[in-house]
Symmetry: C2
Subunit: 356 residues, 2 copies
DNA sequence: GTGAAAGCGCTAACAT
DNA sequence: ATGTTAGCGCTTTCAC
C-alpha cells in the first residue's frame, strides 16, 4: 500500500498527453517495466527473460497493442512498404502481376502502395514523388515504354539509391533488376507450333516495336521460319498500335495482301480479338479457314469462341519473383541487378487447326 | 599504402553512413533561416515573406529536397494514406473500382495501400492489422461476404475510429459508409427489358444470397413480374455459387425443368458465360432460341459471341465516389455514414431478341 | 536482462 | 515574419 510504483510514475510522465491508441508506454506501464523491454519483446525477443516476455505479450494482447510502424520507420529508415507503378490496371494483363506481388509481400509483411499511371507522364512523376515522400523501401515498375520515363525514374528513384525491379518491359542502361517473359522463345514456339500443324504462310500482327519485347518476338518468328526452311516475307507482317480495332484492320490487310495466308500469329491477345471480329464479319471460320495463335493468355481468351490458343505469359510468377528479388535486395541493403526471363507456356485451345 | 587503403575504407564506411537524404535543416542552413521557416513555406506559405519564400523554394529545388511524409505523420497523426482491401484483383469486376480509387486519390495526394484477400479470413486479418500498423487515415473495403469479417473489421478498424467506406457489398449494423449499385433496380430494369421484348417465361440464375445484393436483385425481378401481371414461379430460379461451370449447370437445370423458358436473367456476367457454354454445347442459339441478360458488364462481355446484353454496374464511379466520401470525412475528422447507390446502365448488345 | 538518454524529421504552441 | 522548444513513438547506444 505504501509502495509507490515508480515505473508507473515515470511512464505516466513520459506519456503526458493521453493518446487514445495504445503505445509502448501503456504496455510498459502496466507491466512495470521500461518501454525498452517492450521494444525488445517485439524486436529481439531472445534478449528478454521468458517470464517478462510472457507478461508483456499478455498485456499487449489485453490492451490490443500494435507497434506503430510509422514511428519505427523514423528510427530505422525502413518503412516495410514498396511502391508498385503500372500503366493500366484495367488491362487484364496487369492484375495477375499485382496478385503475385500482393501474395509475396503479404507473406513477408510488406505493404504495397499501388499507382496507376495511365501511361501519362505527369501521373508517373506524381507517382514517383509520392512514393519517395512516403519513403518506400523499394519500387516495382511496369514501365509504359515512353521515352521520357527514364530520366524521371533516374532522378527520383535510382539516383537516390532506391532499389527497383522492372517487370515485363525493359528500359536500357538503367541500374536495376528486370523480370520478363522470354519473348524471343514465346514467338519462336508459337511459330513452330503453327508450322508443325502444316502452316507455311503465316501472317503476323505486330505492334510498334520501340520496346525490346516486340523486337525479340519478331526475331523469334524469323528464327522459326529459318530453322524450318521457310522464306521470310515482310508483307506478311503488319504493325499497328495495340487495340481490338487495330487487330481487325491488320487482319484485313494481311488477308488481302496475301490471300494464301493460313495462319496468323498475333503479338498479343487484344490484337487476336480483333482477328476474331474481322473473321466473324467476313465469314472467315476460325480455325477452319484461318488458324490464330497469340501471346499473353488474358482472362477473356478462354471465353471467346473458339477459345484462343495462346502462349501464356506467367504473369503471376513475374509479380511474385520481382517482389522476391526486390525484398531480398532491400534486406541485404544492395541494389538489385538480376535479370530473369520466364518462358511462356503454350495454352492449346481451339483456334488452330492442322492442315497437314 | 596499406595504411592509406585502410583509412579509405573507414572513410567510405563513414561517408556511406553519413550520406543521407536532404532534410529541412539542410535547406534551412543553406538559406540562413530556421527550419521552421522552411516548414512554413511548405505548409503555410502565406506566413512567409515573398523574398524568403522564393529563396527557400530555389534552394529546395537545388538540393532536391522533398518533405519526409513519415516524419510529418509522426506529428500530425495523418499519413495521407488509405487502405484498399478487396477479395480478388483477378476478377475483372474489381480493377475498375481500383482505377476509380486511384484516380481520386492521386488527384488529392493520397497514397493507396492495396491488399488482395482471396476471401481468406487469415489474409483479411493480416491485411487489417498491417494497415492499422501503418496508420492509414481511412479504409476502403470490398468485403468478401463472409460472416466472420464483421467482427474483425470492428475490432481492428471501426472501434479505433478509423473511417471506412464499404464498396459493393454491405455489412449490416456496422458504423461506416457504403457505396453500391442499386441492385433492386438493376434486376427490375433487366426483367422489364426482357418482358418488353415479349418474354414471359424468364429463368433466373441466382447466387447464394447471404448478401443483400442478391436478395435485392431477386426482389427487383419479382417486382417486375408483378407490375407486368406475370406469375412468379420459383422453379425458374436456380441458385449456385458464382462460377462459369455453375452457370452452365444452372442453365441445364432451368431448361430441363421448364422447357418453355425463352429468356434467362443471370445475376452476374460469369454465370452468363456459363449459359453461353451450355448453349454452345447443346446447340441452343443465342439469342434465337434463348435470350440472355445479365448484371455486371465485365470486360469480356463485349468480346464473346454474341456480345452480352448486361446491366453495367458503374464500377469506376463506385471507387471514385467511395474515395471522395472517405477523404472528405478524413479531412472533416468525422466518421462517414453516407449511403450511396448508383444505377446500373443497360448495355444493349446482341444476346436478347424480341419475340413479340 | 534491463534501463536511461538521445534523436530520427517534422509540426504545434508559444515567443519575439 | 521568423525563431525556440518540446515532443510524436519508436530504436540505437551505452550503462549497469
Amino acid at each position: 500500500m505504501f509502495l509507490i510504483n515508480f515505473r508507473s510514475i515515470i511512464n505516466l510522465v513520459k506519456m503526458k498527453k493521453k493518446s487514445k491508441i495504445t503505445n509502448m508506454y501503456d504496455v510498459a506501464n502496466k507491466a512495470n517495466v521500461s518501454h525498452m523491454t517492450v521494444s525488445r519483446v517485439f524486436n529481439y525477443p531472445k534478449l528478454v527473460s521468458k517470464k517478462t516476455k510472457e507478461k508483456i505479450i499478455k498485456i499487449s494482447n489485453d490492451l490490443n497493442y500494435k507497434p506503430n510502424l510509422i514511428a519505427k520507420s523514423m528510427r530505422t529508415n525502413k518503412t516495410n512498404t514498396i511502391g508498385l507503378v503500372l500503366p493500366n490496371i484495367i488491362n487484364p494483363f496487369f492484375p495477375e502481376i499485382v496478385k503475385g506481388v500482393d501474395d509475396y509481400c503479404r507473406k513477408h509483411h510488406y505493404g504495397v502502395i499501388i499507382v496507376n499511371t495511365e501511361d501519362i507522364y505527369k501521373n508517373q512523376v506524381i507517382a514517383l514523388e509520392m512514393l519517395f515522400e512516403r519513403k518506400i523501401d523499394g519500387m516495382l515498375n511496369i514501365p509504359s515504354g515512353r521515352n521520357d520515363d527514364k530520366k524521371i525514374i533516374n532522378d527520383i528513384i535510382i539516383n537516390r539509391k532506391i532499389p527497383m525491379v522492372l517487370i515485363d518491359r525493359y528500359i536500357s542502361d538503367i541500374n536495376c533488376s528486370y523480370v520478363s517473359t522470354n519473348n524471343f522463345k514465346a514467338a519462336y514456339d508459337a511459330t513452330n507450333y503453327l508450322i508443325k500443324l502444316g502452316h507455311k504462310k503465316i501472317g503476323v500482327i505486330s505492334l510498334p516495336h520501340k520496346s525490346h519485347i516486340i523486337h525479340n518476338r519478331l526475331l523469334g518468328y524469323k528464327q522459326s521460319l529459318k530453322i524450318n526452311n521457310l522464306p521470310y516475307n515482310k508483307n506478311y507482317i503488319k504493325e499497328y498500335k495495340e487495340s481490338i480495332k487495330n487487330g481487325y484492320t491488320a487482319t484485313g490487310k494481311i488477308l488481302t495482301d496475301n490471300n494464301d495466308t493460313t495462319a496468323i500469329l498475333a503479338m498479343c491477345d487484344f490484337m487476336a480479338f480483333g482477328v476474331y471480329k474481322y473473321c466473324k464479319e467476313n465469314k472467315v471460320n476460325i480455325p477452319h479457314d484461318l488458324s490464330i495463335i497469340s501471346i499473353d493468355n488474358v482472362f477473356a481468351s478462354a471465353l471467346i469462341n473458339p477459345p484462343l490458343t495462346t502462349m501464356a505469359q506467367q504473369k503471376y510468377k513475374m509479380g511474385y519473383i520481382a517482389s522476391e528479388i526486390l525484398i531480398d535486395s532491400i534486406k541485404k541493403n544492395t541494389l538489385p541487378k538480376k535479370q530473369i526471363t520466364l518462358d511462356a507456356v503454350l495454352m492449346e485451345r481451339e483456334s488452330c487447326k492442322s492442315i497437314c
